[in-house]
Symmetry: D2
Subunit: 127 residues, 4 copies
Amino acid sequence: MNHRLDVPALQNRLAAFAAARHWQPHHTPKNLAAALSVEASELLEIFQWLTPEESGRVMADPETAHRVTDEVADVLAYLLQFCEGLGIDPLAALAAKIDRNELRFPAPESHKAPNNPSTNTESHSSE
Amino acid sequence: MNHRLDVPALQNRLAAFAAARHWQPHHTPKNLAAALSVEASELLEIFQWLTPEESGRVMADPETAHRVTDEVADVLAYLLQFCEGLGIDPLAALAAKIDRNELRFPAPESHKAPNNPSTNTESHSSE
Amino acid sequence: MNHRLDVPALQNRLAAFAAARHWQPHHTPKNLAAALSVEASELLEIFQWLTPEESGRVMADPETAHRVTDEVADVLAYLLQFCEGLGIDPLAALAAKIDRNELRFPAPESHKAPNNPSTNTESHSSE
Amino acid sequence: MNHRLDVPALQNRLAAFAAARHWQPHHTPKNLAAALSVEASELLEIFQWLTPEESGRVMADPETAHRVTDEVADVLAYLLQFCEGLGIDPLAALAAKIDRNELRFPAPESHKAPNNPSTNTESHSSE
């Protein structure tokens, strides 16, 4: 059903799912942040021994494709539950972050491709 | 602008941002999965020494609230870029996962609250 | 045998184990860092839904105790292989770090117990 | 001093360091597992955008070499404190794990080099 493919609707379904199983006492922001981190690592585990090229082809194998998609769902599930618990709008948070990054990291002129990945690291990972 | 608060629109903005900075060669699925995991850990770092109760109050301090919101944005940014690269619809993936979990983990009857967190762990973290 | 309980001896055993299975091409520092991170998350997974008190009792259950010990072994295995590959002496690295931290974070006088966990966070996680 | 380069001696120094700063109440096994995971991710962050080849050269740059060594120290510090708190001998745990893995994953004959990284993944990451 289409209404499920909407962030607030998914958050409602996740909240109902947790409530029906009496999991709310375990769903502190700290625990959800830990669970989010654990699920993100389970996604990374699929890629840990792959070459860059192999990593681009994971969806060609149906079993691996299912596993990747499943871990994506787990990461998103904990991210949405974390946000719901703390009253954070994740899409608004990301839009605001992109706005800030566009000011902070102006696009280089087209002839200056970066050749230093460590520079990229800084740009990627900090505000 | 409203169109920014939509997953595909945010993915378009992220793709344009990366392209303008010539980051695509670094954005292999493997690297994006690593970056997602790193950002999830940065979110966890905020909570690592907090008690469960303290973790519920992080939004009361404006500076911590900003930091939490910012890390949420980073996690979502890498998750959406990862999904874009592999052709995964994250909202559909989550909706399908909830569907499966509703079949696999029927809600207990209301008088049987779980008292064994390790049981919950299994339910939470595996399909 | 006693000689196995020594860091260089364990590194030799790990290197021989990997070589016999032709894993060296996969054991780049990047991949070993990813694997270390994944194993650390598997250890965290055991604790993610536990209260602080429950987390102190994990060794009372033999099965959980085995699982915890096993994940500790995995974390150490990847840490030692990572260090071997890059020529880092992990025990010397830690001794040097403690030396630096003793200078950088002087112990408070005994009557000034910290009451702000976020201060501890900074002290713990950065040099 | 030589005695510092010994696991029990390092554990003693770490325990004294934490005690002098009144950090023990924060050092639950759960929190230390989270901190270990966070530090492992900080190590991974250094490598996240690097090619496999670049990742093999990180020690050539003194500043990056220092950063890598420092994160190794942080990972080991939390691993040793975690083990100390739960009465786990990390070197014995690793020796026992290698013993088990030698039985479970017999070395292939020399002419059968693995060509399927996902097979290796299983061997690497589970007992």
